[in-house]
Point group: C2
Chain length 425, copies 2
């Protein structure tokens, strides 16, 4: 008997028939003797419907007061889901109880629409589990120190599930989703893409953050920080498949070190992302504090920054580039043109929203040389110009023209033999 957390996405919760299937699957696990906590998303389309209504009524200006209301509205989608799933579980003959984030409570900061979980009180949930109940908890939301409802941003239910699993010290957190695991890259782009039966936490973090949209990045961070065993698996298998088979399916995110894993390929996967935009300040003075002078105001405006590149200087001047989410592009450009550019005496502000980022990810890169150059050669052979390069211990990313994205991904998948079994590579 173990404490298990299941998370189901909006598609799995998309109709009463599907909710009934989720209940049957959860009931199978509960009857096998597990203590079950379930975190369902809103019914598919519901969050968009609610925010669509809100948008029709919104004033032009985005204010904290508006963000607070958007969160209160959006959070109701999951509040409906948990109630419906609890009822469906009761119909399966189980004792079940649902909680909204504020009832648990899932405490967050006050960054409306992109709040961060700060702590989770496990008392109430533990008492229910001890009493033999299945506990259903809203994803995506929490409560701030002033009692306002907050949401964690899109995909936040993954993070909720992992955070809850961490707080409860769950044996495993199973993320049921519309794909059957983590692939070497997106099979829609490369049909030869292969499912990985395991992936290390670090690799998954890079895959998630680089745009393979299976798991929200913060959920992977949480899993890593609190060592929550995390499995991504398909919600499309019949609910009554053998539980042992189900428990071993999908992709397990592991915490193994490289040396335990000799057969691992050098590169595990290719991630890509076209949600970013590139901005550049030309000719800023190359002096201490310049990076903070540029990025401080951007961070203050709550704009997330991804890749940052500062080139070597000429004549005491340097060029400074970074990427932001494409939704923040206009805001960022305004900020640079009106405030940061003049303040730093930049000679020019440039921007390009038509870019994409393609990355190779692999824990094996730590101990293998020449991986990056192999990547650059493969891109060069396809005539793809590299605009920015960014590297970490286990990934190398390039920013290229958006139109070459699929071509680059296919070329890299092939160059690193990802269509073959790891053992054979």
């Amino acid at each position: 008997m173990a404490l298990i957390v299941h998370k189901y996405g909006g598609t799995s919760m998309g109709s009463t028939e599907r909710i009934r299937n989720v209940a049957k699957r959860v009931a199978k696990w509960a009857r096998a003797g597990h203590q079950m906590v379930v975190v369902p998303s809103a019914m598919s389309g519901e969050t968009n419907r609610l925010l669509g209504l809100a948008k029709e009524l919104s004033p032009g200006k985005h204010t904290p007061a508006l963000a607070r209301e958007l969160d209160a509205i959006a959070a109701t989608g999951e509040q409906v889901s948990v109630g419906l799933l609890a009822i469906a579980l009761q119909a399966e003959g189980l004792e079940a109880v649902s909680y909204a984030g504020w009832q648990v409570a899932v405490a967050t900061d006050s960054s409306f629409t992109k709040a961060r979980i700060e702590s989770i009180d496990d008392k109430r949930v533990r008492a229910d589990l001890a009493a033999g109940k299945v506990v259903v908890i809203t994803g995506f939301q929490g409560i701030d120190p002033d009692g306002h409802v907050t949401t964690l941003g899109r995909g936040g239910s993954d993070t909720s599930a992992v955070a809850i699993a961490a707080a409860l010290k769950a044996a495993e957190c199973l993320i049921y989703t519309d794909v059957d695991g983590v692939y070497t890259t997106d099979p829609r782009v490369v049909p030869e893409a292969r499912r990985l039966s395991t992936i290390t936490f670090e690799e998954m973090l890079e895959m998630a953050s680089l745009g393979s949209k299976i798991l929200q990045i913060r959920s992977v961070e949480f899993a890593g920080k609190y060592r929550v065993p995390l499995r991504v698996l398909s919600s499309f298998t019949p609910w009554d498949i053998d539980i042992t088979e189900e428990a071993a399916s999908g992709t397990l995110i592991t915490f193994e070190q490289e040396d335990e894993n000799m057969e691992q390929a050098v590169v595990s996967g290719i991630a890509f992302n076209r949600d970013e935009a590139k901005v550049t300040l030309l000719g800023v003075p190359d002096k201490p504090g310049i990076a903070f002078q540029i990025l401080g105001p951007v961070a203050e405006a709550n704009i997330d920054i991804d890749v940052i590149i500062q080139n070597v200087s000429h004549d005491g001047k340097t060029d400074f580039s970074f990427t932001v989410h494409r939704n923040d592009y206009t805001r960022t450009m305004e900020l640079l043109q009106n405030t940061v550019g003049p303040a730093t005496n930049a000679s020019k502000v440039l921007g390009d929203p038509k870019i994409c980022k393609v990355s190779i990810v692999g824990i094996g890169m730590r101990s293998h040389v020449g991986v990056a150059s192999k990547m650059f050669r493969a891109l060069s052979e396809e005539g793809i110009n590299i605009q920015m390069i960014s590297t970490s211990e286990i990934k190398t990313s390039v920013v290229i023209d958006e139109k070459y994205m699929e071509l680059a991904v296919r070329a890299l998948h092939k160059a690193f033999d990802l269509d073959q079994d790891a053992a054979a590579a």
Copy 2:
């Protein structure tokens, strides 16, 4: 400048266009210098949609655990409304903030699906009003001592609005609805029905409880208990009509005594109700405690009882009849047949769901004799058989066959000259 509470029904909140109109109306009042609190219902159809989804998933048996989930689900309808209205008010240039019942907090007991408000904390709302904000609060819901979301039952938003007005000592509570006031009876049944510009609290209580469905009865009780000036008025007037005209429209529920109101007609209105069913226990022993022995278990099963009649006894036996809501009819009959009947040695249990109740209501009845007999004569002239009679100081009700309802209402409306002006009567 006064503190005013507005309540808007689901039809007024039925689309973003209509919500925008509500916001414009509220903004008009706020700009006239009033401190505004608004209690909107869920968008029309939303509560039914949510409970419909829940019903599809429900186990057959109605348990407290199920009721708890139904409340959590249903309460989200109003939670969406308040957020949308707050956003629409912000778009009008006002500062506005929304709260769910649990955030205020509106404290209730734990009777899921029909909870009662126990207290309302006004601190948060007063602080917002003092800061110049319009405060939008969910109707229909609260939070119980264990932190569970509760709902007050259908129409509960009226009660919420009045209770909030009472807690804030509001100058007036305006209930915007799809009728333009309280009529002598339902104009769909009697086209000559007249709108009353005022009605006393006691009469309104009888009208509401007897089935003229303009206001939920508990809202009228609250208004009476806490002396909240309450006005029922139309939400269909243009939002930009003159505020003085709007403030004087509809029907005001007053607290005047009869002697201040000499011109008042003897009977103010005819109420009717076909939501009830009649049950009878024949031949129960006429001994002390028998009423409690019968009605105790019924109350314990959370079944509301309306009219109660105990006939005079013969040979130490009596017949005991009462009416319940038609939805509770089957449950009540089962309880009587399986438990209460045998326990009280009743010779027979009878039931009839095809009844209706018709009542004449008027504070003038206190000091006028012969009103009841005039009622009975009017019904007799139409050949309508009276099954039960129940009287209070200001109303006389009869239970008759459902099929005679419209006929009885029309006959009584005419017999008491309700189609003429009160002053002329």
